[in-house]
């Protein structure tokens, strides 16, 4: 459909004024509470800025960034963050796709019951979820030690959260349970939208279930997979509440993630500019990763 593009000058002015009047409330909150702090984050990352100290911030150029590159705790936090992302993104995607394909063609009531159950950990909220897991992981009263001892897997109680070998994995498990809810909802709806006539035609031609999945369903749910990859990556990068409540980055910074270390630097060490420099690095990392995933998805389509 073609639209008339010729508009009189008065009409353009009227549209502009009306347009901005409608934009105004939203634009106010957006500029003041999102864009301005984002700018300040980049700006103060170039300063030696300490919270609560009454001296003027010192401009130090890229010194914060140089220090970051040599900060073993930051590099460790970056490594932990990448481990979390690399482990949780594929497992969340594969798990939710499998669950979705198992439940999408059940009776509607059953499908939505399962959807609700797998979404429950998200709704329960990170604090409630974390405190109960903390109890389950507990050295003396936790059920994990009890069950594993009963099954003969371990013979001594393990201090799950206090042991650098296990702590990060304990966090990944909880993150996993709180991450699959949304992908399952999305996959169920994507699988229901797959063109049934193609599936039936392939079945008549004697295609196996596996072939039908790879050749027909998988390409059609690709956009959903792409979206899930992006949101799961971003969520895993931002993993914070679990760490703050479970281990506070311990033992000995072995479970620090970048997000937690930013919080730690800004609110425990009061090194505000340094924390912001980390924030900028995190922003750039996520932007690059999202762009790469997006490009990959586009080229595979």
């Amino acid at each position: 459909m073609k639209k008339k593009t010729a508009m009189s000058r008065a009409l353009v002015r009227r549209e502009t004024i009306a347009g901005y009047m409608f934009m105004l409330p939203s634009l106010f909150f957006f500029l003041v509470f999102v864009i301005y702090p984002m700018f300040m984050c980049i700006f103060t990352s170039l300063f030696d800025s300490n919270m609560g100290r009454n001296t003027v911030d010192q401009f130090i150029g890229f010194a914060n960034y140089v220090e970051l590159a040599h900060d073993p705790i930051f590099l460790g936090a970056m490594k932990n963050t990448l481990v979390i992302v690399l482990v949780s993104v594929p497992t969340v995607c594969a798990f939710s796709l499998w669950v979705a394909s198992a439940i999408y063609d059940m009776k509607p009531a059953l499908t939505s019951a399962f959807r609700v159950i797998f979404y429950l950990p998200v709704v329960t909220g990170s604090v409630a979820v974390t405190v109960v897991w903390k109890w389950m992981y507990n050295n003396y009263y936790g059920i994990f030690n009890y069950l594993l001892k009963g099954a003969g897997v371990i013979d001594k109680n393990i201090n799950w959260l206090g042991d650098p070998r296990f702590a990060l994995w304990c966090i990944i498990i909880i993150l996993f349970t709180t991450s699959v809810g949304q992908p399952i909802v999305l996959y169920v709806s994507a699988l229901n939208n797959v063109d049934q006539s193609l599936v039936e035609a392939a079945a008549v031609d004697g295609a196996t279930r596996f072939q039908i999945f790879w050749k027909i369903k998988w390409p059609q749910i690709m956009p959903t997979t792409l979206y899930i990859l992006v949101i799961t990556t971003i969520n895993s990068f931002q993993c914070f509440a679990l760490i703050q409540l479970l281990t506070s980055g311990g033992p000995n910074h072995s479970t620090d993630t970048v997000m937690y270390y930013i919080y730690y630097t800004a609110f425990k060490l009061y090194r505000y500019g340094y924390g912001n420099a980390m924030g900028v690095v995190l922003m750039i990392t996520i932007a690059i990763l999202s762009a790469v995933q997006f490009k990959l998805g586009q080229s595979s389509n």
Binding site: V116, F118, S126, V131, L245
Partner: protein, 307 residues
């Protein structure tokens, strides 16, 4: 039609899904039963799967621990005129258990964030989709860029900004950044794109005012989007722990999840008390979720399709 899945495969996968579902509900089961267990059962090295004697003691401790006034009505903007930057309170409610105040704070925060987000996003989304004004491409680009970045990064600079605006340690400090987050505008814009321009032009020619057009034509058409955004904002602001953590500090201003986290930090081994708090925090939102579950899942799907 030929059945694609064999009966055996169906039963096996059904069994596995049921087991997984039980595992996923277990933490919630453990919270709720744990909150009714006696200290002896909680601190037993052999887990008690089902409480033998149900006790309300944990809830009594939760309610008796800290007190806060039920409400406090401040004079608007008074923090800019007092020397300490404190608001002048004109009416303050009776002292009640702090957990109840936290719950009210959380409800107020989530409802206010939801209402403001929907209102501003509906207006702005429509404007971005349908109004041909100068600078809209720039604004839209800014919105898309901001959405791709991690929200938490801006929270560190925000805290300084909030203290200089004298909003630190108020619920507004949590609400405003949620309202500013541009996802809602983006979502509504996608909905408003599908409104036929002819209808709007016809209404304009008939002399209908801009607000009138918005109320009678635009809003009914973007309503599903606004509904999805409302539920989405409500649940995500309810659970947005990081922002609450850095912005709120005194007993009177805490939200329920923050209050529970604080209790956990102070009484880390009293699992009964902590479970009572967790149940108190989680059960209301779970009930809301189950009631609105249909709209909520639809909201998630629309967010993905339109996003």
């Amino acid at each position: 039609m030929k059945n694609q899945k064999s009966a055996a495969y169906r039963w096996i996968s059904f069994a596995i899904v049921v087991i997984l579902a039980l595992l996923f509900t277990f933490p919630l089961y453990w919270i709720i039963t744990g909150s009714f267990k006696t200290a002896k059962e909680i601190n037993s090295t052999t887990p008690v799967w089902w409480p033998t004697t149900w006790t309300l003691k944990n809830y009594q401790t939760l309610m008796g621990k800290m007190k806060a006034p039920l409400w406090e009505i401040p004079v608007p903007f008074s923090q800019y005129f007092t020397s300490g930057g404190e608001k002048t309170i004109i009416s303050s409610g009776p002292q009640v258990p702090a957990a109840i105040r936290w719950m009210l704070n959380t409800i107020w925060m989530a409802v206010a964030a939801m209402f403001l987000t929907c209102l501003t996003a509906a207006l702005a989304g429509y404007s971005l989709a349908k109004k041909r004004f100068i600078g809209r491409h720039l604004i839209f680009t800014l919105i898309v860029c901001a959405m791709a970045l991690p929200k938490q990064v801006i929270l560190i600079p925000l805290i300084r900004q909030m203290s200089s605006l004298k909003l630190y340690n108020t619920l507004s400090a949590v609400i405003y950044p949620i309202v500013g987050w541009p996802f809602g505008v983006f979502l509504i814009k996608q909905f408003a794109e599908s409104i036929p321009g002819e209808i709007l032009e016809a209404a304009q020619i008939d002399g209908a005012g801009e607000l009138n057009i918005f109320n009678t034509i635009v809003f009914p058409m973007i309503k599903p989007g606004v509904g999805a955004l409302a539920i989405f904002t409500f649940i995500s602001s309810w659970n947005d722990y990081f922002m609450q953590l850095i912005m709120l500090s005194s007993t009177k201003t805490l939200t329920i999840s923050l209050g529970i986290a604080k209790m956990q930090a102070e009484n880390s081994t009293d699992f009964g008390l902590i479970m009572a708090g967790a149940a108190f925090a989680a059960v209301p939102i779970i009930i809301v979720f189950i009631i609105f579950q249909k709209y909520f899942t639809r909201g998630i799907m629309m967010g993905a399709v339109k996003g």
